[in-house]
Symmetry: C2
């Protein structure tokens, strides 16, 4: 019994984020950050705003940022919610659509924050296994539930679900909300945004932490029907009116406005990814087909856990999940061309030594 702790958190096991090293300098391929700096326009906007105006509250509705997103994606401002990173947006969405005692469905291998949210908010989970090839078990995501949560492309596998399959899930669950977490969609994936007009039960969540190189600014957003967006706003305004600070609002808006820089840096990450995949395959790695800014890899005879520890010794951080089915895989974020060349060289050495 934890004295003074409420019943809702007595048995809670929080999410563990990837390591943020403070002392030593690592090649950091463990938290799916973008290796390229944020758009110069985003930085310029932040510098311009960082003055006397910080004494005033930020706009609780983040209108400037929603306008920029509206323009970039061709979706009405009323269908856009902005928040303090997509983790917060997801936490609000869970509370907005899933009641205490409801049951939501998601795969066994996906973003490991979902079961934590569910436990936190008193929601039951029906966890369905991915197919043997790590693709989505579409039939198991349909019917007899109070909500569905899908990461697409999925994490940590990087595998994309087809739009046809997504339509099946949306049509098979017309009375509950289907959350599609598109944190990684900008690295070659196909967004569900064009489906918004057809499906009032679709919520698409995205983030500036990966493709916009702004993990340190904390900006996430959601697109959905006006009704779904009103529900998230109801939750947000019952918890914290001002979730986005002034710098995040202007910086995020400027980043969204700089389409050219966004496309260029995303392309660079994808090109490096393909070269890395090629080299790793030559070293005997299985590499799942990735549409994200990371790859999920497993070697034919060197255990992932061993490689994980050895890479750390060599000054390279990657992510290892000690969980059934994926405990012989490593998730490796795509860094710069140079970082990935070093990573492949080190991998080559480690595989040869084994």
């Amino acid at each position: 019994m934890k004295k003074y702790w409420s019943s809702r958190i007595q048995n809670l096991v929080p999410y563990t984020p990837g390591e943020q090293p403070k002392d030593r300098k690592f090649i950091k391929l463990n938290t799916n950050e973008n290796p390229y700096p944020p758009s110069p326009k985003a930085l310029e906007a932040i510098h311009k705003e960082a003055g006397e105006s910080l004494r005033l509250y930020s706009d609780p509705e983040g209108v400037a940022l929603r306008k920029a997103l509206s323009k970039a994606y061709g979706i009405s401002e009323k269908q856009i919610f902005v928040g303090n990173g997509s983790d917060e947006v997801l936490a609000f969405a869970f509370q907005a659509y899933f009641g205490v005692g409801d049951t939501i469905v998601f795969p066994d291998i996906t973003y490991s924050f979902y079961p934590v949210y569910a436990e936190m908010f008193g929601i039951n989970c029906e966890i369905v296994p991915l197919n043997d090839d790590f693709t989505m078990p579409i039939d198991k995501l349909i019917g007899n539930n109070n909500g569905v949560v899908i990461t697409n492309p999925n994490a940590p596998t990087g595998i994309e679900m087809s739009q046809q399959d997504l339509r099946r899930v949306l049509e098979g669950n017309p009375d509950v909300v289907v959350i599609v977490d598109e944190a990684y969609v900008d690295f070659g994936g196909t967004s569900a945004l064009p489906l918004l007009e057809e499906y009032p039960n679709l919520l698409v969540v995205q983030t500036m932490s990966k493709s916009r190189s702004l993990a340190g600014l904390r900006v996430g957003y959601a697109f959905g029907s006006e009704n779904l967006i009103q529900a998230i706003n109801c939750v947000k305004n019952s918890i914290n009116s001002y979730t986005l600070d002034r710098l995040a609002i202007v910086g995020g808006a400027a980043a969204v406005g700089d389409q050219e820089y966004f496309e260029k840096t995303c392309s660079m990450v994808m090109e490096t990814r393909e070269r890395t995949v090629q080299r790793l395959k030559e070293l005997g790695f299985q590499v799942l087909p990735s549409k994200s800014n990371f790859i999920f890899i497993s070697h034919e005879f060197v255990p992932a856990k061993k490689l994980f520890a050895q890479l750390r010794e060599e000054g390279i951080l990657v992510r290892y999940f000690d969980k059934p089915r994926i405990n012989n895989f490593l998730r490796v974020s795509i860094g710069t061309e140079e970082d990935m060349a070093t990573f492949c060289d080190v991998m080559e050495k480690l595989v040869r030594q084994s």
Copy 2:
């Protein structure tokens, strides 16, 4: 029935923050912002951080900020939690200490976000009336509850509760958490921080939005026993690992480090407050004794609601709460010396016209 909305938010009435005008230029005395700019050292730290490093996640534990607070307040880092504004800190604290179906006690006239949190998180409220002179009803805050929440100095009255009375509340509720929200304490109030050593059930919440002139940066924090701080971290890490962005962490830390600027600007606000109180009393206003950066005023014959509307016409925003017992009061934030001279001039005109 709101389609797709969860049962927990079907009947929720969110908090309404004070107006943030976008079009017209007002003298803005409605949201208790500080009229002076943030510390130049805070702005300098933000400019220094606003570069390539924003591509990386922020420190989920906000160590740099907690170190600065630890040094400034002489309290161990392990006893400090930092979050995205004190509203978020309070929301996490409610979830950390108060379970579904628990009953918490707070006064009828206080920060109007408390009943919203309670409704959001399934907590029952026992709302006890302030005494007729708007002081705290100490006896009613003791016993037979699962938690107590006090704003001290109280809002929107500005009245401070004595440390002796606070001790009575803490001692009368040894098995539940007493949250003391000190958003306004730096304008002449006495903090409960020295009581932390004696009372393991005390959580003190503060913010940088008022006395540190950083409402637009979103930084709040809590001090408590290690055990209470661990509980809030458990909630935070089950909702959003990275609540503070990189700019808020460094800006907040630098602001806390600039003690001289902090003391100077707080003194200026207090001096202007006293001069304003004097003039308003001469105009026939009752002014509650304030230890905060706002005053709560009521005129002997001009209705507050009328003055509120007239002030807006004159380009001055103040806050009016259309609630029993206080619907003939206005809450007026203390602005610059010049703003308050204008405010008093306009009030003089309005009172004469009535």
